[in-house]
């Protein structure tokens, strides 16, 4: 029996909140998604908004035909793997360069759903996948993203949920030799959003960039638990997440685990998390972890800062006649634009910025 199978058979217990992986998460607000006692429907809900595209196929397949490749100890993912009968499979043909983004959107039709998606980027393919998560939902999802050698995949997920949604997800990339995975994770909606953006490498020369922004207002819990496993030599990772929080009980959690195994000589990694607390009553937890088993690396570093609004920036802008609210809006847009500006779609970028503006206005920050 492979370690993978044995791992699948070993049930993780329902979390109590004392586990390291769950200690920040408000379990009571998960509507039982994490709890085997609660009934959840197996329901693929992603559709191709961008229509047919050459070199791209999206279909529903039997779960047996695409068994999970990666191992996990996350209880939600285990539950998804046990439960789902059909999997959404998105394939980008090898050597295909898909010029327009492949945009998937979400059509939830059930109360509580579990879904699995597999994205396979064939060797030397080049594509951008954008997943637009909107609406009200309770969803546990696993997305496995496999990049064959030399593939380049830009992977953008937009959590623009209504503020009642619970979204528990693992976005796991398996990056092959000389492949490049660039991801942008944007979480602005939802009641509880807990995403595990994780990466493993299967060949040297592989590279992953994990960028993210989150903006939490009144009562929102937005959690991102990054894990990058450097298990091959000469792979690169860059992590940069920026978050802002405003309003009472606004909450963010950022965990950045980077593991450099003994075999991973020539690793080059850096991770960064910056949080901006815009009002009292908000709380940001930020925990970077770097575990290194070899000294033969190019570089490994991390930084985490959490601070308040810079009054000097505000003064500078206001001294040019710009009113206080407008000045704050400019500074916050500027803070996020470093990452949002990389999405490369002006309509989406403006939509996200407007949502942030509106949320800011609502909490009066």
């Amino acid at each position: 029996m492979s370690s993978l199978t044995s791992n699948l058979l070993k049930h993780a217990d329902t979390p109590t909140g004392r586990e390291e992986a769950w200690r920040f998460t408000p379990l009571k607000r998960l509507a039982g998604l994490h709890d085997r006692e609660t009934n959840v429907v197996d329901q693929p809900s992603l559709f191709q908004k961008s229509g047919d595209q050459a070199g791209v196929s999206l279909k529903l397949v039997a779960a047996d035909s695409v068994p999970p490749i990666s191992t996990t100890d996350d209880v939600i993912v285990e539950r998804i793997r046990e439960s789902v009968s059909r999997v959404t499979l998105l394939e980008i043909n090898r050597n295909s360069e898909v010029s327009q983004p492949i945009t998937l959107n979400r059509k939830n039709s059930v109360d509580k759903e579990l879904s699995r998606t597999v994205i396979r980027a064939g060797s030397n393919s080049k594509a951008t996948v954008i997943i637009e998560n909107t609406g009200g939902s309770l969803i546990g999802e696993e997305i496995e993203i496999i990049l064959d050698s030399g593939a380049t995949l830009n992977f953008v997920t937009l959590q623009e949920w209504e503020n009642t949604t619970v979204h528990l997800a693992r976005h796991h990339a398996i990056v092959g030799r000389d492949a490049t995975f660039n991801s942008i994770t944007v979480s602005v909606g939802g009641s509880v959003v807990r995403i595990l953006p994780t990466v493993e490498y299967t060949g040297p020369g592989a590279s992953a960039e994990l960028l993210g922004v989150y903006f939490a207002t009144d009562g929102q819990h937005l959690e991102h638990r990054i894990h990058v496993d450097h298990g091959v030599p000469h792979a690169k990772s860059r992590v940069n997440y920026k978050g802002a929080l405003a309003g009472n009980q606004a909450r963010s959690v950022w965990i950045g685990d980077v593991f450099i195994r003994a075999i991973a000589e020539g690793t080059d990694t850096y991770e960064l998390n910056r949080n901006l607390l815009l009002t009292d009553g908000a709380r940001a937890d930020s925990v970077p972890n770097l575990e290194i088993e070899t000294g033969e690396i190019i570089g490994a570093g991390h930084a985490s800062t959490t601070g308040r609004f810079d009054d000097e920036q505000l003064f500078y802008l206001m001294s040019r006649g710009i009113a206080s609210e407008e000045a704050r809006r400019l500074v916050i847009r500027g803070f996020f634009s470093e990452i949002i500006g990389k999405i490369g779609d002006e309509v989406i970028e403006e939509r996200l910025m407007s949502r942030i503006d509106n949320d800011l206005a609502k909490v009066g920050a």
């Binding site: 500078y316 006649g321 710009i322 206080s324 407008e326 847009r333 500027g334 500006g341």
Partner: protein
């Protein structure tokens, strides 16, 4: 014709030992078309004067008045002071990451003019002003002050002065950190605005160097939180020769 009138202005900052008075009664009037140089040693309160007129929240007004054309400036918020016609070119302009110079300038011009400038004339206006200050057009796509050299920051301040056309401009150590060429370019910018818009200028400096390019009508020596001597341009020559020693002793 505008007048900035400062009367018996007393300003303090909060320190560990409570409110500490820095400006100890400043009297000064700056009218349109006049250039006043305020000169003094480090720590004399020159910058405090500049920042308290602009309304920086760090400073507490302890007494006195500041009016612009008879209207109380001290009651205004920072942006209202700018709208009233005051401009402060800062010694250390603040970085605003992710906000482009072009976006910043247009937002400021919109706020001050009460309506968004027409895009075509505005682009031309900015371009012309940048050319005169020897600035690369690519500059406008960079984030405000981020990664700017000292000279670029000061040129950017004067670019704003040219575009925003205040009634009274306060230039806080605009000459510091500039090489001769940059000092000349920046000074020419100030002189252009003086001629075109007849603004009043309050030039704060430690050194007499900039006064070779921007001719003051009045020179005020500042020490220990107030003006200790006043005169014409010739007073600057005296300072050039003798320094501030006699004022510090006093």
């Amino acid at each position: 014709m505008s007048s900035l009138v400062i009367k018996n202005l007393r300003v303090g900052v909060e320190t560990d030992s409570g409110l500490t008075e820095i400006l100890k009664g400043v009297d000064l009037t700056v009218n349109s078309g006049e250039t006043h140089a305020i000169m003094g040693p480090n720590g004399s309160g020159k910058s405090t004067l500049a920042y308290s007129i602009a309304g920086h929240p760090k400073y507490t007004i302890m007494g006195g008045t500041v009016t612009l054309d008879g209207v109380d400036v001290l009651e205004m918020s920072v942006d209202e002071r700018a709208k009233a016609g005051l401009f402060l070119a800062m010694q250390y302009p603040v970085e605003v990451p992710g906000v482009s110079v072009s976006n910043f300038l247009r937002t400021a011009a919109t706020a001050l003019r009460g309506e968004a400038p027409k895009i075509r004339t505005w682009v031309g206006e900015v371009k012309a002003a940048m050319t005169k200050l020897n600035m690369d057009p690519a500059f406008s796509e960079r984030s405000v002050n981020e990664g700017f050299s000292g000279g670029e920051k000061k040129r950017h301040e004067i670019l704003q002065l040219e575009l925003l056309k205040p009634k009274i401009a306060i230039l806080d150590e605009t000459d510091s950190g500039l090489d001769v060429d940059a000092l000349r370019i920046v000074s020419e910018g100030v002189n252009r605005v003086k001629v075109e818009s007849n603004i009043g200028v309050l030039l704060i400096t430690h050194y007499t160097r900039i006064l070779r390019y921007i001719k003051p009508d009045f020179v005020h020596v500042f020490a220990n939180g107030h003006i200790v001597e006043e005169g014409g341009a010739e007073l600057a020559d005296k300072l050039e020769e003798h320094g501030y020693a006699e004022y510090i002793k006093a």
